[in-house]
Symmetry: C2
């Protein structure tokens, strides 16, 4: 039997926490839990979404194809986050693709439930608004980083981000392993440049690697580099 949203811990971290008991029941009754394997697509840029996805487990990369054929990863969506909200609110096709970075479990909630609640429950709408306001600030920060920091700084920043948000395993390697190509697509550079800089960081003792796994060996030096020292 499916688990009930009312008892879902994940909900504490997203806008669904502002829903009433009745609304939650509705969500719970209509939601569909889906599993995606690493690399599978939740949805693609340009698709019309008829609901939102609440991430229970795993990480999804949210990306946009650029004119030159490269994917730019705009953000990573993690446990607790609701994705697809933006498109549902403005009733437009989504501007981003969502692809599982590792195995995922997500709950799909039909848009009618969400839209309905937004018309009836101002607290819920306000909570959604707060989350979107937060996302917008983060997007502003990304814009500034993209244009004002070097590729080296952005890569260093990406690793600290991964450490702070997803932690490290018992051997000290980052728990969330992204391919070099994905990292390049996060910081907006060529895969080769990304690999080269990782090699350089390794030589300098800032990072350690084991296959595709990467660990931070000298956090302070990385931070100094980001800060421009």
């Amino acid at each position: 039997m499916e688990s009930r949203c009312e008892n879902c811990i994940v909900r504490q971290f997203n806008s669904l926490r502002a829903m009433s008991k009745e609304e939650l029941k509705e969500v719970s009754d209509s939601k569909v839990t889906k599993k995606y394997k690493k690399g599978e697509t939740l949805f693609e840029e340009g698709e019309k979404l008829n609901g939102v996805f609440c991430v229970r487990e795993g990480v999804s990369k949210m990306s946009k194809l650029s004119a030159n054929g490269k994917d730019q990863i705009v953000k990573l969506a993690t446990t607790g986050e609701v994705i697809g909200q933006r498109a549902v609110i403005v009733e437009e096709p989504t501007n981003l693709s969502a692809i599982a970075v590792n195995d995922m479990e997500v709950c799909f909630v039909p848009k009618e439930i969400i839209v309905n609640s937004m018309h009836k429950n101002p607290d819920f709408t306000l909570e959604v608004l707060r989350h979107m306001a937060h996302d917008l600030k983060e997007a502003d920060d990304v814009i500034v980083n993209m244009s004002q920091k070097t590729v080296k700084q952005r890569i260093a920043e990406a690793f600290l981000y991964l450490k702070n948000n997803y932690g490290v395993d018992e051997e000290g390697y980052l728990s969330l392993t992204l391919s070099r190509e994905d990292i390049a697509n996060v910081v907006g550079t060529a895969t080769e440049s990304c690999i080269r800089i990782i090699s350089e960081f390794k030589k300098k003792g800032y990072l350690k690697t084991s296959g595709k796994r990467i660990g931070i060996a000298n956090e302070k030096e990385l931070q100094d580099l980001i800060d421009g020292f």
Copy 2:
């Protein structure tokens, strides 16, 4: 005597249009109309805002100081737009500075009025949410442009943006004149690089200039350049 919000055309373009008559009256009674000369600061990054600003006339650049001391212009806010909303919603200091690009007239609305309406009027909240969702999409697009397009393409794009959004004067020059430095700060490049590329575009017949005024002489070529031909 101050003009009434109820009759303000500007309101049609922003979230205030979802307000009830009573709410609008409240706004109207508590708002303060302010004028800013070109170059003056509406507010600075890190400030706490105790209200929002509704732009009646003129344009404001919304920027963020980066670690290397350069301002990155994240967006331009124009007639009809409400600025400072994000900060008021999340109850945080604002993450952006607002500086008048030309002479401005704005209405300052105390945050209590806004917050109050957001708790009581779901239509208003939803309308604010829609606007923020739109801003977020635009920010995503900027991120992709920043990381995947060349400086040359971004500058070309900036000029077409200025033409499409602010139009041209009778001589064919862009109605909104930004300094070369501002343009550089919009596209995220060095002022010298920006000037150089403008000169190049002029030589190639894509642009014409007269002092600091700039006009588009060959829109198609600019568009081709943006599209990567």
